[in-house]
Structure formats: structure tokens, C-alpha cells
Amino acid sequence: MSVEPEVPIVQVEEVRENPVLYKIISSDNHVFTISEHAVKLSKTLWDLITNLGLTAENALDNPIPVENVNGKNMETIVQFCERHKYDEEEPEYTNYIREFVLPEWDRQLLSIDNEELFQLILATNYLDIQKLMDYCCRVIGDMAKDKTPEELRIIYGIPTDAEDDALERSASDSPGPSG
């Protein structure tokens, strides 16, 4: 199967050094190329590649469609994966409160507005990229430092008990699916 969409191919600088490349198509039909080492950071994509039996020979001819991720988020994800593709695997954390330093490059990469960050986390969750998820969650967690509950409500859009109850009431009042 070969898909050739009429859209520009986004080239990321770091991908040129690796001979095995894969093509990914985002939900808005942008095409990205990503190296094998980088794509391995995404459990979902790597499982897909393995299951489809893509090899170095046929990888570029068979782009992988990712319906749940748009081009903007995919670009961030590809940049992140290319940047961290040779990183050593981190040991699984055992403490219940995470302690790690967020690198400056990643902090810059994730300096985007809240809604974009939210969508990026959803995309990361779908593609199952643990490291990017940890970094995104650290950025979100840092928003709560030294904040009062009132400020947390504003920052995170947390509804009050009254709003929650009203929502619950309206949900229970609305007719359920018939049949």
C-alpha cells in the first residue's frame, strides 16, 4: 500500500544522519520523517512498525497514518524523539514523588500555551512516549508550585463542588440512551 498525499514533507535536521527512516502522516496530512532510533521511543509507533513488518527497504514507501495527532504536535514529538534518541534508558522511579531536572532544551520546547500542551499530552499518551510524558507532566506540575487552592482552581480550571454537583445533577436528569 502506498499513499502519496499532496502535502509538503517536513524535514527535521537530525533525521538525515540515520539511514533507516520512516514516514508518518499526521491527522492534517502533514508528512514527517523520523529515524529508527527516534521512533523506538514511541511504544505505539514501534509496535505498529513491527506488526506491519516495515523494513529499511520498504519503510519510506509505506507511510504510517496517525489519525489522533495533528501536524503541530507531531512536529514537536519528532523533534523531541530525535533529540533524545540516544539517551540512556532511565531506571524506573520508585519514589512516589518524582525528582528529576527538566533540561533547558526541553523546557524551551514545551514553552507552549496550555491548550497546545494539553493536546500534546493527549498525543503523547496515545503514542506512549514515556519520557516526553514525564517532561510534559513536570511542566504541568511546576505550575502548582507555591499556589493556593484558589489559584489552583484558576490555573487548572477546577470546578467547585457546587459546579460538580450541578453537572452531576444535569447528567442524571438527562434521558439516557433509549433501548
Binding site: R98, T124, D134
Partner: protein
Amino acid sequence: MTSNAPKFRLLYLPRLALESVLSNFDNLERFEFSTCSKRCKEIVKSLRHGRMEIDVLLNHRLASVTVTSGSTLKECTYFHLFDEPGRGVHEFLTLNGRTIRMEKVPRNVCIYCSGGLTVDTKALVDHLVETFRVPIETLKFEMNHFDNYRNFVQCFPNPQLSRFEFSTCSKRCKEIVKSLRHGRIEIDVLLNHRLPSVTVTSGSTLKKCTWFHLFDEPGRGVHQFLTLNGRTIRMTKIYGNVCIYCSGELTVDTKALVDHLVETFRVPIETLRFDMNDFYDHRDFVRCFPKCDDLIIYRTRPILEEDITYIKENMTSNAPKFRLLHLPWLALENVLSNFDHLDRLELSTCSKRCKEIVKSLRHGCTEINVELFNGLTSVTMISGRNLNEYTRFHLFKSPACGNHQFRTFNGRTVRMRKTNGTVCIYCSGGLTVDTKALVDHLVETFKVHWYSLVSMTTATSTWPEEDITYIKENVEYKKFYINGNLQ
């Protein structure tokens, strides 16, 4: 006397036909029809009456009730109630069990209430309000020579004030008031150096006001007591005005009142005004009201830039919200794993849902130690694999001064101040209750037991035996120490 012509069986008409007939009645006719019987009243109640207003004017001579209708409110029917028997030929009308005499001239109805003007006025107004399903739009008192106005005040309680008072009776009452439809309501807060003032405005044209004035003094005279978010305060009522006396706890009581109003009437604060003239304590109030639609600051002299920055930073955030609670569960857990225990505690006080989320997290080894001294309680939360991370809460009886934050634990609002790893909580008026509220909240949220060990320390060598017995009998424990010695 009686006509022999066959009666028209109006009530036997099909519903649509009946409605069509009654749609030809004007307001006065509908009113009269509704007084015929309970069934007629129910039929009139079920009709659509279009836009309507009921206005009441009271003075020393008469009570006047005006029913205005029509899309442009041009059609009026006036009811004039006199405190005299009247003369001439009258019709009789029965309203809520009271039979009264009346006389009609076009668009005007004169009602003669010998001996019970207030009761009959109330009966008429109640009947109109119930039948036409609209509240009283305006209630006007002309006070010249009107000595017995208080009799009428009792008849027409301010609905917002009544609902507010009802909502403070119990949690169930509050829930009932919350579930009501209140129509258009606005809450405005004015803060200055003398007193905070909270105004609740309601009605379609926002004409009805209830003013709450909060004084930083105990007040004199006979007061009622009111409980708001666990705080009992003294108040007096004058029609439409409520004076609340908050001896020593003005900010906490203001916050408790505003929180209660916002929650009960389900509207945010519309405008928050800071009159900065001589208002040196304004920062105490800033953190009470982090959210409002319009923020207005004024001062006769130029306002200091740092004050504006402080208020802006602490009140409204323009950044779009991050929808934390909409994240997938694993992502949410991942975010919260970056929170330390104090952050988790703060989040748990945001709402019940947040508390449930924090409860469902794994917190690692957490211990809670409680130390009790005379006038001070110390609660320490210890965590980390080697139990080397501490968060200390010191609870004081004294109110203290300065800039504080507010927290609500199990329905009790307390003032607090945070420094590195230490939280000072000021519980004026309820050290034991606030300590219990905090400990209960911690125990519940972090799912730990705290009462496994009791240690008593004293400078003197002996404890009164009855004290030891009392503690042993009333505290659940696994180990009991006195001055470091296991008993």
C-alpha cells in the same frame, strides 16, 4: 335573580378551547375567574400570561398593588386597599379564605379591609403572585406618617434575604436553596478602610438589593446568630440591610459570607471594588477574592504601582486554564507525582473531586505526628522512603496579623501562612476543632493512622494520675510513653 338560560359549561371544554377562551380575558377577568374556585385558580395558573410585573406601594393611607402586563408593560390594573368599611354596593371576594368587599371601576379595584389591612394586602398579593407566577417586582414604602410600616415589612420579606437566612440553617437547607432558580442575581463587593460591604442585587432589572455590612467590632444590642461555613457570627437586620459584627476576624468572615453567597446563589462575584484611600490592610482581602468579573480600584491620590501589581497577580490570571481534570488518568497521575505533599494537600482542598483524586494516589511512607502544647498544636507530616521529608503545621490560638491565605478543611475556614516546609495556621476561636479538622483531612487524604503512639512530656517528675487515666481512656494508642519511658 337567576337566569333560566342554560349555563355554558366552560370547564367541560377541551383544554385547547378553554385556553383559547381564557386568552380573551384581561388580567382583571383572569384574577376574578381565579377567585371562583380552587380549580379555576389552577386553570389560571396554568395559562401563559406573557410579560408581567407586580408592584406594591405602601403608605399611611392605603396599600396599592399594580399588575402591569403586555410586551411593553402598558396595560395596568390597580388594586387599592383601604383600611375602612366603605360605602355603597359592593361585591364580595374570597382570597385565601378571607372574604373582602370590593368595588370595581374600569382598571381599578377598590378593596375595603375593615380590620385587617395588612392581612388582606398579603392575601391579595400572595394570590396574585401565585396565580400569575411572577414575584413582586418592586415594593415601595412611603414613610411619611407611616407609623405601622413594620406590620407590612413582616408581610413582604425580602426573598433573597429569606433564602439566604434559610440557607444558613443547615446543609440540607443550603442544598435546597442552591437547587432553586433565583433569576438574575449579582454579587458586588466593596472594600474600604472602614468596612467591607457585600451587595446582592436581583430581579430582571436588578432593582432589588440586599446589603451586608461587615463591621470589625462586637456590636451592641440584641443580635441574631448566623453560621456561615462553620463560623458563627452576630448580625442584626434592618429591612434590606444586614449588619454583621466580626470581632477580630473581618477578612475570614467576609470570605465566609461571600463564599456562602456565591455558592448558594450560584453566581460569581460581579464587581470587586477596592477603595484604596487609607486602606492599609487591603492585601489581607486580596487573597480572599481571587476571582471576579470586574475589578475596580480607586483612590483620590495616585495608586502605587506595587499595589496594582500585587492585586493583579493575586487575583485574576489571564492565562488560559490547563484542563487538568480532563487528562487521561495515567497522565493525571504522572502530573500529580510531581507534586510534593504540601502541593497535594493544597490540591485536595480545592474540591471534593480533587480530594478523591489525591486520596487515590500512592504517597509512599507517610506518618502524621501530632504534638499538643498549651496554646499551640504541632502536626508533622513525614514522608519519603527514609522518612526524611517533613511538612510541619503549627496551629495557634492567636489570630496574628499580616497577609494570610485561607484554607477550608472539612468545612472550617482558617487563616494560614506558608514558609519553607512550615505552615502556620491561626485558629481564633477553635484550636481543638480546627486541629481535628486538619488532622482528619490529612488522615483521610493520605490514608495514614496517626494515633498509634502517645508520648507525654512534662517538666515535673510526676503526672496527676487522673490525667493519665483520662488520656488512656479517651485516646486510642498502641504505645504510651511518659517522658520518653514506655509504659
